[in-house]
Amino acid sequence: MTGKTIYLVLGTAFGFALSRVGASEYDLIFGMFTGIDLTLVWVILTAIVVGHLGMRVLTAAGGKTRRGENIEPKTKPLRPTTIIGGGIMGIGWGLSGACPGTVLAQLGEGKIIALGTVLGLIVGTYVYALLTERGSV
């Protein structure tokens, strides 16, 4: 399989799993942030543990990709803006009942309102590019 087919297949698995486990349901995000229903907390914690163990298995197996390249997990720098950006994103998560990933699952499920969220996400990303142009962030 070529790279782009693999991305399409893995993306499809991601969207399918998000939809099947209910991460695309407004009520489960509402439930997570109000403490009414913590299903998604358990989903995320399970994903973190499975992801961590999977990376350990890859490392134990030699830490190589299928093409024999060294796997180097991408590090994300810790800056003062990390908490600020996290705080801004959290506002959006609560207002829209979706994160940048789950809104795509909502869209695939035919939730029309998710179109608004996706458009907002595109505008927000574009505004970030404008701000970096001016050196504001």
Partner: protein, 176 residues
């Protein structure tokens, strides 16, 4: 009515099944293509794919060197995967509903979509400033034990709780 088809495609999966599939994407993306799981940067890829001639410097970094970068395919797959899920689950093709929000907030569809677009704006801007979203920071970043991802995740949760409280009290009339 609880055959394998219902279990897999109609009834919601238990939390551990969803977490298992989502978590496996972290090592699989490294094994196949040596990239880190993440969604929010992909919105930049979508902008670049639609407007390849943009002059903004940010769209000319190595991340967006390829007009049809991998993220476009990954994000497109996510929409497709959920579409397949909804079709196999026998759900309607389109719906104007959004759970408790549309059940409790008596707004027109355009006004509701506009409100959600404001939420989306915060998602897009915030994720870029933080350097990732739920998948890049909270799942990939925490799975690879990165301090910045813990900080970002604390930020997501703190204001997510506050903004959801706002929606619950001021828009849903204090729904309990």
């Amino acid at each position: 009515m609880n055959g394998w088809y219902e279990t897999l495609f109609v009834n919601p999966w238990p939390w551990w099944a969803g977490g298992l599939v989502i978590g496996l994407l972290v090592p699989l993306l490294y094994y196949f293509e040596n990239v880190s799981l993440g969604v929010s940067t992909g919105y930049g890829s979508i902008i670049k794919a639609i407007f390849p001639g943009t002059r903004l410097k940010w769209f000319h970094s190595s991340t967006f060197a390829d007009r049809w970068g991998w993220r476009v395919f990954f994000l497109g797959g996510m929409v497709l995967g959920a579409f397949i899920s909804a079709r196999l689950g026998g759900r309607p093709l389109f719906t104007g509903e959004m759970g408790l929000f549309t059940a409790n907030v008596d707004w027109s569809l355009p006004l509701t979509a506009l409100f959600f677009a404001v939420g989306g704006f915060f998602l897009g801007l915030g994720a870029r400033i933080a350097g990732g979203c739920t998948s890049g920071h909270s799942i990939h970043g925490l799975a690879t034990l990165q301090p910045s991802s813990l900080v970002a995740t604390i930020g997501f949760l703190a204001t997510g709780i506050i903004s959801t409280y706002f929606v619950r009290v001021f828009l849903m009339g204090g729904l309990s």
